[in-house]
């Protein structure tokens, strides 16, 4: 077998029952100085044809920053015959510390037929022991949510943006959480997508003398790109949850009104515009406008505050990227529960 190297192929075909044995052999036969590293089990599940190759490429990039045991699964639930094919491979990168190669192993599965019954068995029997299990679910959830699987998952990662029926999907996710006795952390990449914009807006209010302005917010405008309405609504939900706003009324699809705990009205407009997923956020508190907008160069945010017509000192901040690798890297860097996300969802659940 050749040396362990960076690869985008599925690797070596193996019998499902001999995966451990073959993985061991893979490392024993590797040439040169390589280190196997793993901080987690990262399982990826998709029902899209061709997803196995696509996700293998994503894993090659994700493992550059997040050493893990990757378990990549492509399922064809409509196939007539039950069949499981498996492969093993490794993603190797030169570490920051020097010339040593750091490798993450990948086990790939193609499942045909009977998906829901095979999945827990496939995943659970191939975990790297004592490491958390992150399950990246790239498809819509459907019943039944198998408790055998969900009780083992530490974090379930999904992207709510393309969901057709947010409420139904969220109910399924929450039922998985109940099965897991609340241990499971829900990680929505649509929420991760907001991280940099949330940070950019939050930093305006770090200074204690700015806190009072939070109680004077009267207007909020969010410009979002086509297909990112739910992202904009999650942003509204975040502000509502953290600042104790309640929904008051809607005026059409894109104009909302919330009311603060003191009875102050907050007019919210979400507008579809060409540009980045969340292209611009403008928040008005008394006579000051706080603006976060994408800079022309794309991957930077420009933030500024000031009175209308006043000269502002803009600052550039990282904007992050809206691709799966960047979003996953951002999400995998975080720990702890996502209480704020759940509260944000609760605030705008009816609009999503």
């Amino acid at each position: 077998m050749p040396a362990v190297t960076e690869t985008y192929s599925l690797g070596v075909p193996v019998e499902v029952g001999k995966i451990d044995q073959k993985l061991k052999k893979l490392w024993q036969e590797s040439e040169g100085a390589v280190t196997r590293a793993s901080l987690m089990n990262l399982a990826v599940y998709s029902e899209d044809p061709g997803s196995l190759d696509r996700n293998t490429q994503l894993m090659a990039r994700i493992t550059e920053d997040h050493a893990c045991r990757a378990i990549v699964i492509e399922a064809d639930c409509n196939a007539e015959n039950d069949r499981v094919d498996a492969w093993i491979s490794a993603h190797c990168h030169v570490s920051r510390a020097g010339s040593k190669q750091v490798c993450s192993e990948q086990i790939s599965f193609r499942l045909n037929g009977g998906c829901t019954t095979q999945l827990p068995n496939i995943v659970l029997s191939n975990l790297d022991s004592d490491l958390p299990l992150y399950l990246w679910w790239q498809h819509e959830f459907r019943e039944p949510m198998d408790p055998q699987l969900w009780t083992w998952v530490d974090r379930v990662i999904y992207d709510s943006r393309p969901w057709q029926d947010f409420q139904a999907q969220m109910r399924l996710v929450e039922s998985a959480q109940t099965e897991a006795k609340q241990r499971i952390v829900l990680c929505d990449l649509n929420w991760t997508r907001l991280d940099k914009v949330r940070f950019a807006l939050a930093q305006f209010f770090d200074h204690p003398t700015s806190h009072h302005r939070l109680a004077k917010i009267s207007k909020l405008r969010i410009d979002f790109a086509r297909g990112f309405r739910s992202t904009a609504l999650l942003f509204v939900g975040w502000l509502a949850a953290q600042l104790n706003w309640c929904p008051e009324k809607t005026d059409g699809e894109n104009k909302l009104q919330f009311v603060s705990s003191s009875g102050r009205k907050i007019d919210i407009e979400i507008r579809q515009r060409d540009g980045q997923p969340i292209h611009e956020v403008a928040l008005t508190a008394a006579d000051i406008e706080f603006v976060v907008t994408h800079a022309k160069c794309g991957d930077l945010l420009e933030v500024s505050r000031g009175k209308p017509g006043e000269k502002r000192i803009p600052q550039l901040m990282p904007a992050g990227k809206d691709d799966p690798v960047s979003l996953m890297s951002e999400e995998l860097m975080r720990g702890g529960p996502h209480h704020v996300y759940l509260r944000a969802v609760d605030c705008v659940r009816d609009f999503l």
Partner: protein
Amino acid sequence: MLMNRTADQPEPNPLREGLATRPVPQPCSIVIFGATGDLAHRKLVPALYNVAADGELPPAVTIVGFARRKKSDDEFRRDLEEATRKFSRQPVRDEIWKTFAQSIFYHQSEFGDESGYKALVERLDEIDKTHGTRGNRLFYFAAGPDQFEPILKHLKAAGLNQTCKGSWVRVIVEKPFGTDLASARELNRIIHNSFTEEQTYRIDHFLGKETAQNILVLRFANAIFAPLWNTHYIDHVQITAAETLGVGTRAGYYERAGALRDMVQNHLLQLLCLTAMEPPTDLSADSIRDEKIKVVRSLRRWSRNEIAANVVRGQYAKGAIHGDPVLGYRQEENVNPDSQTDTFVALRLFIDNWRWADVPIYMRVGKRLPKSATEISIHFKKAPAVLFNKDLHDLNVLVIRIQPDEGISLRIHAKVPGTSFHIEPVKMDFHYGTSFGKASPEAYERLLLDAMSGDATLFARRDEVEQAWAFIDPIEQAWHAKKDVPELFFYPAGSWGPEAADDLLARDGRAWRRL
């Protein structure tokens, strides 16, 4: 992050909850004294650029370079841009630098020129108006320690130590914090003539390193170590700070300082404190520093006669580093040919408290050693000499690597596969660089942000510094006495120091860890 909110701090920003990043500090002007020097160019400004590029600086932070040389704002910006492109952790992006550079200014003045400080007041007031820095000032002393007094005196005379309502003034002091207890007290007195202790941040960049901060996490977030971390289970501790470099261009300073003052009094004692301290009551700056200082206070003091038996000093002679011949210390530029300066120190310490009674702490630091490495190793006691252990000599060792290749390893015993019971030591190894792809911020990035945020946890307090000197002074005095002076041992460059350093452990039946 170690920062905790204390009772007198305002409520946190509700929009921060759940965000992975720390709150940005308050707007301020950072005035760097000695702004044309190496430290500002190689460390401070690249560090500030990096935190700005990561979005962790508010827009209203300005940098005002204060130095003697004539220079315009634009010339100063160009110099800093060149240095930042060379020394920054991440590549410099033109668009970010352009915005960042707009907040950089140069103020030319002699350190002892009163009018220069009056002009500085006007300049800072103007910057407050144009850049929204709100009267907050952070004075960074990157000039030589001989300049501290005139700078402090003039800052006070100009009223720059005063705060307006709602604003703050802080001062960051670089080492050396004096050269002995008397001078440290004098320096503290001078500082406190102008600034309170709460306003004073004594920077020790070792404490800004990721692994140094991780010592507390390792000890107090992992239950398995707590019951073992004491005299019942630990045989001894070794702390090593080795570097391959010689004195280089620092002879002027180093001739007066030596390794004991340059490294042990600050960096190594700080690492020892983090390793040996009791759990703090909380993570506030003073709770942690209260525990650290107890360690220094508990260090056993030696009489003059005991010093030679417990401290070995050395100086490198000519030799080779990585195969290349190098000069001896006395042959280096600007070094006295009869210099008695220590470039190597090994110490045998004891912490006389309940936890560490009779556990020797061996510490060594040196220049021109075979490799550069800073680490702490905890050597556990042997298992009872029964069953497998009759012929085992290796101890279980937990190693905390501070630099380079930050990480933690644990040496345990394992059976060699086969039909016989042959046992060998094996190593379980955690490397930051391997496990976490994200690069750690530079120590100065963390420390500058902490100082701007008013978090003094990773800075040395006055009493820590003075207690450290109180421990070091008797050793220096013995070395500079008129008679019965402990010997200065010479070691070839590229070796692990003089044999006397090995004897220090050999007398106890121990040996330095092989790095």
